[in-house]
Amino acid sequence: MTSIEADIVLPKARAAGRAWVRRPREPITIAPWIYLAPALVLLMVWTYIPLVEAFRLSFYQWNMLPTSVPKYIGLKNYERLIALPEMRNALWNTLYYTLGLFPMSVVIPLFVAIWTQDLTGRARKIYRALIFVPMIVAPVVAAILWRWLLNEDQGIVTRGLDWLGLERIGFLTDPRYALATLTWITGWKLIGFSTLLFSAANSGINSAYIEAARIDGATRWGIIRDIRLPLLSPTILLLSMMTILFGAQWSFAYINVLTDGGPLKSTTNIFYLLWQYGFETMSAGWSSAAGMIAFAGFAVLAACCMWLTKRLAVYDN
């Protein structure tokens, strides 16, 4: 993994260290702007201007019909949203999705990668090819195939539970389990990929450190704790950051295809609420206001993650 994500973390610092420097006497030119134009215009038109527009809409009441005129209502959208139990429920579920993903996107992959580091040759390549596959499977396909596996009557998992003599579980229909099921499906796509990232980072650790520590009498656990985990910290922090910032978004397709936020709103999250306010109840103002709350929340989280990454990551220089 190169430092593409690190760009989000340190955009200015990265931009400053460029390789090709303009010669001092070159006149100021419009040429770079012509090259930048397509990307910048598209980002402005489809990301930044809509962001500002969504901010503006959050102070209006509007049903999205071209014939109706948005009505200015000040902060009322925000006031109502904050008072709404639905919103609180969605925020709790967002937290659940995010924390529930951690074992699958960070913890288990980290331990599997360290545990299996001695694998070499063909076996390693075969495992690698197999565990990567879920990453490229479309979310809609993943949703449908898990719906089949977990089907309450005839799914293979249900049959397995029968065979073990256990009670059947309504994975997608029981409010006690549905949220955990969707979190699992979201994590299923990530677990192999994260393992590969950790393995790559782990096998990149300079073996001289390990040898030196072993000569000094360090135990296997001591080596993991004092050498491997610190040197894996950039990958740990990166994957944690990705999970925190994007985890709730990744689950959108599963919620939409499988549960529509139910049963009893147990699987909805903040991003799904935005979609329902916007395109099911047609209240653009509510949706935008909820969007702004989510955006502000995630922006604060992003800033915290970046600050933590800068402070905690250990690089091998």
Partner: protein, 286 residues
């Protein structure tokens, strides 16, 4: 951070000293993870070939494999048209992301401007704006431009992506400066340098970006869900969702539809397996 995936591991002696049991445990963990990853997909394939009276069978292979589920899907949903649409959308999206990314990356690398840092930050931070937050203005804009229910509407908003610019920017920064200096002294203009010197040497990053952009565009669900109306103007993910809503409990045909929707990507993966994995690993999660 390194990406050298096949590098020899750091414990050369350990393999022989480790007790056999330990090695078995290591394989056990990896086999478990592999089965977990691949079995759901295998089960999708197997179910899609099962005849209707065997659909609930737990046998690992159908006794009489059949294409009837596929035929059923193709007569109910315009799946082939949707597959063709998805190929167009994914290929155009990937192509345009390469072009816009290349131009922007070149500008950022070639010229040092007072605003470079700002532009770079603006591009990078656009990645953090969740699509669900901007979806209503985007939808309104798309409908004003007449893009609803068109393939162009699925392509244009994704024609540029922060990820594309950043990936190419990093690749381009390591391009040797001397060659460019020499070309400049020979009087080559900036566009000639870009297309005749830089681009031909950027094969690997362009291939990586194309693979990732194509797969992401193929798997994209949210924006088509907002934009598409008629099945024949839509992409395969939407077709799959529509089919599930109508025939959600016909498991055989549903699995056949899911297979059709994922087959092109899985074929790409089978052919370019190493490149696909490495492209994703080098660039992280998107």
């Amino acid at each position: 951070m390194t990406t050298d995936i096949d590098a020899p591991t750091t414990n050369p002696g350990g393999m022989f000293l480790q007790p056999l049991l330990g090695r078995l445990a290591v394989h056990g963990v990896m086999i478990l993870l592999s089965v977990l990853s691949i079995f759901p997909i295998y089960w999708m394939f197997v179910t899609s070939f099962r005849p209707a009276n065997e659909i609930f069978s737990t046998a690992l292979w159908p006794s009489a494999p059949t294409f009837e589920n596929y035929i059923f899907v193709l007569t109910r949903v315009p799946m082939l048209q949707m597959l063709a649409n998805t190929v167009i959308v994914a290929a155009m999206t990937a192509g345009l992301q390469v072009v816009t990314g290349m131009l922007a990356a070149y500008a950022l690398v070639r010229w040092r401007m007072r605003l470079s840092g700002v532009v770079h930050g603006l591009i990078a931070l656009s990645w953090l704006v969740p699509f669900q937050v901007t979806m209503i203005p985007n939808y309104v804009l798309a409908s004003q431009l007449g893009l609803l229910d068109t393939l162009a509407g699925l392509i244009i908003p994704n024609a540029s992506h922060a990820f594309a610019v950043l990936l190419l920017y990093h690749a381009m920064r390591s391009f040797p400066n001397e060659i460019l200096e020499a070309a400049r002294i020979d009087g080559a203009g900036s566009s000639k340098i870009l297309w005749q010197i830089v681009v031909p040497n950027m094969g690997a990053p362009i291939a990586s970006l194309s693979i990732i952009a194509f797969i992401s565009a193929w798997n994209e669900y949210f924006w088509p869900l907002l934009l598409s109306r008629k099945p024949e103007n839509s992409v395969v993910q939407i077709g799959l969702q529509m089919f599930m809503t109508q025939e959600g409990n016909l498991w055989g045909p549903l699995m056949a539809a899911a297979c059709l929707a994922s087959l092109p990507i899985l074929i790409v993966y089978l052919v370019l397996q190493r490149h696909v994995i490495e492209s994703f690993m080098k660039s992280g999660i998107r």
